[in-house]
Symmetry: C2
Subunit: 216 residues, 2 copies
DNA sequence: GTCTATACTTGGATAGAC
DNA sequence: GTCTATCCAAGTATAGAC
């Protein structure tokens, strides 16, 4: 039963050729999600952008939805690898805002949040997809929560606001800001908000005194 | 040239029968956007839910996208009529949060924000749709801005934070919270946030003194 | 003027070629 | 094992019936 035949439902096949094809398709899927959204992400369009045949999508991933989930995974992984290190470096509210600003700007330019938004919104149209997407947002929330706890954990504000709820809000805000920025083709208003947030953070730190910052 | 014939690109036709068909189609379009999202909102699906013929969509609206825009207009209008009166009644930060909470809960149940989210996310896939949707978000931003100015206009916080930027953030947050709530099928985390916001508003009012509330 | 039947296009999925 | 040619369903749009 070892080397036997017909493509099963379970993905991930052996050959190096296969891996390369998969990589190209995932890359193209991410690209199409960014430019044409979920509704425009058909097997044909994705395959064409990958310079590949549309049938391969069903061979390698079983369905378009599965490929799109793989694309979301790819983006999530890339993002976490990119930012995972910068979490620990945060020590105060202003630094947290600075870090968040940089991450948001970077995410916006890379189109990471676009992919996430399109997958969330698109999930409504494909039965079963919602749960899969929901499961993949966990890391995004956890990442935000970790950053918040690192920065505000033992400060007065940290006592009042549960980090989990705040993380939820931050992720929601990211999604919403992406949508509006993307729609208007103008990221300026969103970035202006981060500038205000930094002002507020500074104000808050001044009010509660320098002792509120974490010392390692 | 008065009573002449062939359906032009410009919509809105005369008869009462026509108006009724249009109404049914718009209603169905809103419904389908809520349940199946933009990607699932095809002419066939919408027409079937309206108990109507799919060809009528193209006769009355010229394209599916135009019908969906009409659906968005319908939702926007209904929402503004529903909440327009409650804006003036707000006099303090806590009242503003209370009002916002109620509006958010109502929006969530009615599916208004779902329609908006789907249209924004879906706009990526249809050329030209983005600009149309963007133009229709103006009122939502203005509504939020007006409410904020009413509540915070001459308070200390109102001096620091430009109402336009804050309104932008609020709308973005609404969109994001809707997406997450909708995806998880759980509105509890989002509503918990409003509870926290009320705490903060109360804290803020206590700090700045009762003089910061508006007197009419 | 309003609506239905039909034409044509694109999309998902697979049977079969290599 | 990997990929391509082909099938059928679903989509948009319109020509023509009422």
């Amino acid at each position: 039963m070892a080397k036997s035949g017909a493509p099963s439902n379970v993905m991930v096949r052996g050959g190096a050729r296969s891996a390369e094809t998969r990589r190209l398709l995932i890359e193209a899927a991410v690209d199409v999600l960014k430019s044409d959204g979920y509704a425009g992400a058909s097997a044909r369009v994705i395959a064409e952008r990958a310079g590949s045949n549309q049938g391969l999508i069903f061979y390698h991933f079983g369905s378009v939805a599965n490929l799109l989930l793989a694309a979301l995974d790819s983006v999530s992984t890339a993002r976490m690898e990119q930012y995972g290190s910068s979490v620990g470096a945060v020590g105060s509210a202003t630094e947290l805002v600075d870090s968040a600003t940089e991450i948001f700007r970077s995410d916006l330019d890379a189109g990471y949040i676009t992919v996430l938004v399109e997958m969330i919104a698109g999930a409504s149209s494909t039965p079963g997809l919602g749960a899969e997407v929901a499961a993949r947002i966990g890391p995004w929330k956890e990442f935000a929560q970790l950053a918040i706890e690192d920065a505000l954990g033992d400060s007065p504000l940290g006592q009042v606001l549960p980090s989990k709820d705040v993380a939820y809000a931050i992720v929601a805000l990211y999604l919403g800001l992406e949508m509006l920025s993307h729609l208007d083709g103008d990221r300026q208003p969103a970035l202006a908000l981060f500038a205000h947030a930094k002002q507020l953070a500074g104000l808050f730190e001044a009010m509660t005194g320098p002792s509120s910052t974490k010392e390692t």
